[in-house]
Amino acid sequence: MEPLLRVENLTVFFGKECNHCLKTTGPKMETNRCRACGTIVACQDVSFDLFEGESLGIVGESGSGKSTLINVLHFKTPAKGSMFIRSEFLPSSLKAFLSNHRDGYWSKNLLSISPYHKKRLREAIMGIVYQQPSLGLRMEVSAGGNIIERLLDAGWRHVGLMRTKASELLNKTEVPPERMDEPPRVFSGGMQQRVQIAKALVHTPLLLLLDEVTTGLDLSVQARVLDLIRNLKNEFGFSMLVVSHDLNVVKILCERTIVMRYGRIVEAGLTDQVFADPIHPYTQLLVASRL
C-alpha cells in the first residue's frame, strides 16, 4: 500500500534562525521559542503519510504547530522539507510539469515548485475550511458569488451553468439555495461554515484541509457540521487532514491521529489506540483532561 501524499521533515521557522534554534526548543525544553535568537520553531521534522480516502487527525494545544502544518500543505507558509504526491493523482494539465521524470512514481517536491504551479495545483486538488469563515469567504459577496469566484478561476464562463453548480453545492451542504444571493455576513455561524465547505468542494478536491472547523459553534450545530462532513466524505471519497484541539471531533472523523507539541510530533497511531492507550506523557495528560 502506497500513500497518496508523503510529507517528510517539514520544518518551519518564524524569524531569523540560528544554530541553537533546534536544540533549545521542543517538547523536552517545553518551549518553541529559541533561547538565543527568539525565533519561533513552529514545526520541526514533521513527517507523515496520508492515504487515499483517509482522514488523519492532528491534535495538540494552541501553539503546537497544527495550523502552521495545514498552512504549509496549502502552500501559504513556506517550509523546509519535502512533500510529494503520487503522480497518477496529479491533474492531467499539470502532469508534464510536476511529475518527477526520474522515477515517475512520485511528483517533484511540491514545496519547491514555482508559485504559479503551486496555485494551480492548489486550485485543482485542495479545499480548505477555516475556523473563521471570514478567512475562507468574502463576507460582502453573495454566497453563490463566493462559489462562482472559484469556478471563474477555473475558466468557467457561462453564468447559468455556474449558478446551477453553485446552487447544487449549497444544496449538498444544507444551505437553502434561495439564500444564495445573500452575503454570508447575514448568515448564522453554522451556515457560514457550511458555505465555506461548499466553496472548498467546488472542484471535488482530492484533499480537504479542515482547520478547527467546529470550534466556537454550539453543540447541535457542531454535530450537524460533523455529520455533513462525514456524509460528504463517504460520497466523494476525498482524504482529509483534520486539525482540532477537540479530541471528540477527531475521534468521530479520523482513523489515525497525530499528537503535536511545541512543533514536534510526540505520538502517532490509530485514533482509538491513541485515546485508549496513550504512550507519551503529554498524550496521557491530553486524554486525561478530556471532558
Binding site: 483517509e54 460533523l226 455529520d227 492507550d277
Partner: protein, 225 residues
C-alpha cells in the same frame, strides 16, 4: 491456524502518576483455528479485555507476537504491522464488539450498521441497506428505531446495534468483549444463535462473557487467566 498469540504482555506506564506501572496481561499464549470459538475466562481485572484490545490493536502490546493469517496480506504480526494495514484488516477481516456503543451524533441506527460496508466500496448502498435491515430485524430491533439516533437507545439496544455493525461485513476473526452484558435472556439466545451460524461459516471467535454458562456449550476451547 488463524491466530497465534505468543508470549503477549501489556504493561501500562502511567506518567501522570509518576511512572506507575500497571500490568494488563502477562505472557499470554494461545492458538485459534478457523471456525473455532475460544472463550477467555477469569476474574474481573485479570486482563481479559486487554488481550482482546491488543489483538484489535486498540492497545499496543508491550511484548510478544500476534500472528494472524490474513486473506489480504498473508501472515502478519498484528503487534507490529503499520497502522494503515490494521485499518484495512479491521475493515475487511477483523470485527470487534465492545460493551458500549461508540455513539456518533446525528447518525441513525441503520447508517451506523451499514457504514463499514460503504467504506469497503464493495457493495451498492441499496444492497447494504437491505443487509443491515435484515440483521437488525434478526436482532429484534423494532423497525421504528432504524431511523432514530442510538444516543437515546437503551443499553441492550445499543449493544445489539454494535453487534450488527461488527457482523455486517462477515469478519474472519471476531473479538467479543462482553457483547451480551446488558441483554435479556431472549436476546442473548438470539445473539448466540447468530454467533453459532457465523462460526459454522468459518469465522473464528474469541470472546469474553460475563455469564460463561450460556456460551460454554458451544466453546471449543477455554483459556483461563
Amino acid at each position: 491456524m488463524m491466530l497465534q498469540v505468543m508470549d503477549l504482555s501489556k504493561v501500562f506506564l502511567l506518567h501522570l502518576l509518576g511512572g506507575k506501572e500497571i500490568r494488563g496481561c502477562e505472557n499470554v499464549s494461545f492458538n485459534v483455528d478457523e471456525g473455532e470459538f475460544l472463550l477467555i475466562k477469569g476474574p474481573s481485572g485479570s486482563g481479559k479485555s486487554t488481550i482482546l484490545k491488543c489483538i484489535y490493536r486498540s492497545y499496543l502490546p508491550t511484548k510478544g507476537d500476534i500472528l494472524y493469517h490474513s486473506k489480504k496480506f498473508g501472515k502478519v504480526n498484528l503487534a507490529s504491522i503499520s497502522d494503515r494495514m490494521v485499518i484495512e484488516l479491521r475493515r475487511s477481516e477483523i470485527g470487534y464488539v465492545s460493551q458500549f456503543l461508540n455513539v456518533i451524533p446525528r447518525v441513525p441506527a441503520l447508517e451506523i450498521v451499514l457504514e463499514p460496508l460503504i467504506q469497503n466500496h464493495s457493495i451498492l448502498k441499496r444492497e447494504a441497506r437491505k443487509r443491515a435491515e435484515e440483521l437488525l430485524e434478526r436482532l429484534n430491533i423494532p423497525r421504528q428505531l432504524f431511523d432514530a439516533y442510538p444516543a437515546t437507545f437503551s443499553g441492550g439496544e445499543q449493544q445489539r446495534i454494535n453487534i450488527a455493525r461488527a457482523l455486517i461485513s462477515n469478519p474472519r476473526l471476531l473479538l467479543l468483549d462482553e457483547p451480551t452484558s446488558s441483554l435479556d435472556e431472549r436476546n442473548t439466545a438470539t445473539v448466540i444463535e447468530l454467533l453459532k451460524e457465523i462460526k459454522n461459516q468459518g469465522t473464528s471467535i474469541i470472546g469474553v462473557f460475563h455469564d460463561h454458562q450460556t456460551v460454554m456449550p458451544f466453546a471449543d476451547k477455554i483459556f483461563s487467566i
